[in-house]
């Protein structure tokens, strides 16, 4: 591996890098050279994307078939890219770990997708969507990327409608919109509570159309285990056929990772069970920087944990906060009582009390932290799990009185049924119980304006990259970003790279390819040979607990340092004591999980280091040491207005931190306030 690009301690301190007392992460990382996005476009913000598209070189249609593209992931970001690049005539291979591309985790998104169509004439515009997204991200995203996202958002809706996506419509036959996540305009398009499903099926169908046209080949039940780099460029992947166990080599001219988010590092999250960081992490270890890994979004309205058997958490749409009132008992003694017997004066509607102007509609991170605080005080409700009640009431009795049972059913469709199915309690009679859960990660592989990582020829799209949401993501904008990247951005930027083709031919016996393949086999053999005493799941659960406790809703210097120690020793134990049965030559779900959990350990440690370095509270990242007198998040733009891009420095070395300064020309940085 190349030597990482570092600066000496003296240089770093001269440049103010090791700013005395404030560098909590000193000793956990090496300062690196500043990072600059060399593709960053110039000029007025509204012209930047048009200019970049014009400047990006074209590839002659007759040459495209000879250029090969590997796309890992078939969620919104991957399927849309595979379909579009197939249509353009490239030779595309598409990978997913599920048995069909249609099952990617994007399928589970409920609420909707934003677009600046301004169909409601309520003052929306590309600029306003841009502004809301940067502000929502607490001024920690790159303005050019966000502007482009807002700009192409309108094309997404046109494309999806043409594909037959059955969005909700009004009586006149035109598309309906709703307001979502506290913004003041109605710009969210939706298909009841199943928007992600309908968008993904649209992209999946477009993808399958290309399969039948012969431009795309799909590899389902295939897990990417390693990235192949040759002479510093991404040239393919090593994938395991999850049915036969074959370790396969797939070579290409360019690789795209659309492998989704890593929220499952917390074990319990609203993500699908298979969501993982392996594809991204393997690329990271090969030289792709990981940006802002600690930025995690914790969603306030999920169904609480019911016991130690819990395998995942279920999101209840945020829209419920429009009508439900959140409360806990004022007195600890009431916590195990039937909530209907607790009189009004003994209830603490804490959000309405602390945030009188926004009440129950405060942003996700504020609602989440407030719930944690009241439960930490011992005022949580619901079953005790590990000695604590972790739940707050979301009470619809007033709304039911106002709108009737029928009105509620019409408005919230199947959510009440879903809740009853999972908890066995009828929310029309007993208040719902909710608790925050990990939902989305804003962090991801660092990319430039072209969505290219620090490894030439490796592009990253969707939740797997870090680019558009800063420190927090607005509701209904992940779907927008996935489809923007895949349909409208990547196809233009990737051609500039492909225009350098044809690329040097490489074969499966190239030393770098052999090395990648052998390392995968070695890892598989190791897991199967340890024959220890603990299951992979038990390690994953323990890692998740550490992350949730110390790198969850509130992070502190002491907690994070403790977490790093705990993770390191747990990881050591894992490699010596894990028990993975079965063989490498068949479907082996424990083996699959072992590989994923191994990468989660390394990611978890880096998340803690990143959180330690960022001694400010911004977006979803709340540092206990950086709050106002009344407990609100305090951002420090003078010190932390940068993207933290981490470079892997080797197995036994500490990571290298490269900072990319965030500069705003089209927008002014403001502190938020919801009081």
């Amino acid at each position: 591996m190349d030597m990482p690009d570092t600066v000496s301690a003296a240089e770093a301190s001269a440049s103010g890098f090791l700013d005395g007392d404030y560098d909590d992460a000193a000793g956990y990382y090496t300062p690196g050279t500043p990072l600059v996005d060399t593709k960053a476009p110039e000029g007025p913000i509204a012209e930047r994307w048009q200019n970049r598209k014009f400047e990006a070189r074209l590839v002659n249609p007759s040459n495209r078939r000879k250029l090969s593209i590997i796309i890992v992931g078939t969620g919104l970001a991957g399927a849309s890219a595979a379909a579009t690049l197939g249509e353009a005539g490239y030779n595309v291979k598409s990978f997913c770990y599920q048995d069909s591309p249609r099952r990617a985790h994007s399928i589970a998104a409920q609420g909707g997708i934003n677009a600046a169509k301004n169909y409601k004439e309520d003052g929306d515009s590309v600029h306003r969507l841009f502004y809301d997204t940067v502000k929502g991200g607490d001024y920690r995203s790159r303005e050019s990327n966000v502007y482009r996202l807002a700009e192409v958002s309108t094309n997404i809706i046109d494309q999806c409608v043409a594909q037959g996506v059955p969005f909700a419509r009004e009586y006149g036959g035109l598309l309906d919109n709703r307001s979502f996540g506290g913004v003041q305009v109605s710009r969210t398009f939706y298909a009841r509570g199943q928007t992600g499903q309908q968008l993904l099926i649209g992209a999946y169908q477009a993808l399958e159309r290309q399969v039948s046209a012969g431009t795309v080949t799909t590899y389902t039940r295939h897990e990417m285990m390693e990235l192949i780099t040759v002479d510093g460029k991404a040239r393919g992947i090593i994938a395991r056929d999850m049915v036969t166990g074959a370790v396969e080599t797939h070579l290409a001219d360019v690789v795209v990772l659309a492998s989704g988010g890593y929220g499952n590092v917390f074990y319990l999250s609203t993500n699908a069970m298979g969501c993982n960081v392996t594809a991204a992490w393997r690329a990271h270890r090969k030289g792709a920087y990981m940006a802002n890994p600690c930025y995690t979004q914790i969603h306030p309205t999920c169904i609480p944990v019911s016991g130690s058997h819990q395998s995942k958490l279920t999101l209840m749409s945020e829209s419920l906060r429009n009508d439900g009132r959140i409360w806990v008992p004022k007195n600890q003694a009431d916590c195990d009582k039937d909530p209907r017997e607790i009189p009004e004066e003994d209830r603490d509607y804490y959000l309405e009390r602390i945030y009188p102007s926004f009440g129950n509609l405060v942003p996700r991170d504020i609602a989440s932290r407030a719930a944690k605080n009241v439960c930490d005080e011992g005022r949580g409700v619901g079953p005790e799990v590990d000695g604590v009640r972790r739940g707050v009431y979301l009470d619809f009795s007033a709304a039911i009185e106002r709108l009737g049972k029928k009105g509620i059913t019409e408005k919230y469709d199947n959510l009440f049924d879903m809740y009853e199915r999972i908890t066995g309690e009828n929310p029309f009679e007993v208040p719902m119980r909710i608790y925050p859960a990990v939902h989305y990660v804003m962090g991801g592989l660092w990319v430039d304006y072209d969505l290219q990582s620090t490894i030439p020829g490796l592009f990253v799209t969707g939740e797997a990259n870090f680019s558009d949401h800063g420190a927090n993501r607005l509701g209904a904008s992940a779907l927008m970003q996935g489809l923007a990247d895949g349909y409208f951005v990547l196809p233009h930027t990737i051609r500039d790279y492909l225009a350098d083709g044809p690329f040097e031919e490489i074969t499966e016996d190239h030393p770098a390819v052999v090395e990648a393949r052998e390392s995968v086999k070695g890892r598989i053999d190791h897991f199967l040979s340890v024959n220890g005493t603990r299951s992979v799941d038990s390690y994953h659960r323990e890692l998740g607990n550490i992350m949730w406790e110390y790198c969850g809703m509130e992070r502190t210097e002491t907690g994070l340092k403790k977490a790093i120690d705990l993770i390191r020793s747990l990881k050591d134990d894992f490699y010596r004591n894990v028990k993975v049965l079965g063989s490498a030559e068949t479907l082996n779900q424990s083996l699959e999980k072992a590989g994923r959990v191994a990468d989660f350990f390394e990611l978890g440690e880096l998340m803690c280091i990143d959180a330690l370095n960022r001694r400010e509270s911004c977006g979803g990242h709340f540092r206990g040491e950086s709050q106002t007198e009344d407990g609100e998040a305090l951002r420090h733009d003078d010190e932390y207005a940068y993207v933290a891009a981490w470079e892997w420095a080797g197995e036994d070395s500490i990571p290298v931190l490269h900072k990319e300064d965030l500069v705003y020309t089209a927008i002014e940085m403001k502190q938020r306030s919801y009081k």
């Binding site: 037959g164 059955p166 035109l174 169908q205 399958e208 279920t314 349909y487 799941d537």
Partner: protein, 247 residues
């Protein structure tokens, strides 16, 4: 709760399988069915026995990965997916039989995991609207009557789980196919390819070894998304029309 589980174990596609019996105690009624299997697997792992393989991912009833025959019913006793079924639907002391989807067109891969790739190949034969990225007209240029949009949405909720096939004595995938034909056929955007779509999808369906529909209705009874039986009438009608048009 204490349960007796009878589970189909099959090491791989080419080996023979058999039912195995396991005892499981201390099952909480709040567990989902798959969490119950997680507990069993944890115990098997402890004992050095290969855990039971089953497909699952979202555990929210939307991805369509999961699917088990539970006491002879696809997805078990409730109208929902296997992952959304909870143990409170069973009683203490019960014996539960768990098998994979049974269908010639869905060969078993291992234990409870089957190969449903035939569904993807049916979609490849026309389960889409041909519109290249970037060539779409303004979304509001074609209004769609709300009723049609609603019906299209209702049938588009199919999750491709395959329960309809597993439940059908004929092993027919007509409900799955009818849902797609109806979703796209209800919308103005789906009209240009309406004839070729149904002809090609049906040809692929038959080629994959799915059986013909004899109107039994077991499919719709098992369907977790309550796709109605009349999508099959729509399928048949579209096929007749296409043939009349000379396809």
């Amino acid at each position: 709760m204490n349960l007796t589980l009878k589970i189909w174990r099959q090491p791989d596609a080419s080996s023979a399988g058999a039912m195995h019996t396991y005892q499981l105690s201390d099952v909480s009624p709040d567990m989902s069915f798959l969490e119950m299997l997680d507990v069993l697997n944890e115990q098997l792992n402890e004992k050095g026995e290969d855990p039971v393989a089953f497909d699952h991912d979202c555990r929210e009833g939307i991805c369509g990965s999961c699917g088990l025959m539970i006491n002879g019913d696809a997805h078990g006793p409730e109208v929902t997916t296997t992952c959304q079924l909870h143990m409170r639907s069973f009683s203490d002391g019960e014996t539960i039989t768990i098998e994979p989807w049974r269908s010639d067109a869905f060969p078993v891969i291992k234990d409870l995991v089957v190969d449903r790739s035939a569904f993807d190949r049916i979609v490849q034969q026309g389960g889409y609207i041909s519109v290249n990225t970037g060539s779409a007209p303004e979304a509001h240029s074609v209004p769609v009557p709300r009723e049609d949009a609603l019906r299209a949405f209702n049938v588009a909720t199919c999750i491709g789980c395959g329960a309809c096939v597993a439940a059908c004595p004929n092993g027919s995938a007509s409900l799955f196919m009818g849902a797609k034909i109806t979703h796209l056929g209800e919308l103005p955007q789906g009209q240009p390819e309406r004839d070729s779509r149904v002809v090609n999808m049906v040809a692929q369906h038959d080629h994959e070894g799915f059986g013909g529909c004899t109107n039994i209705g077991a499919c719709t009874a098992a369907c977790p998304k309550e796709i109605p039986l009349d999508v099959i009438s729509q399928l048949n009608k579209d096929l007749r029309t296409a043939i009349r048009h000379g396809h």
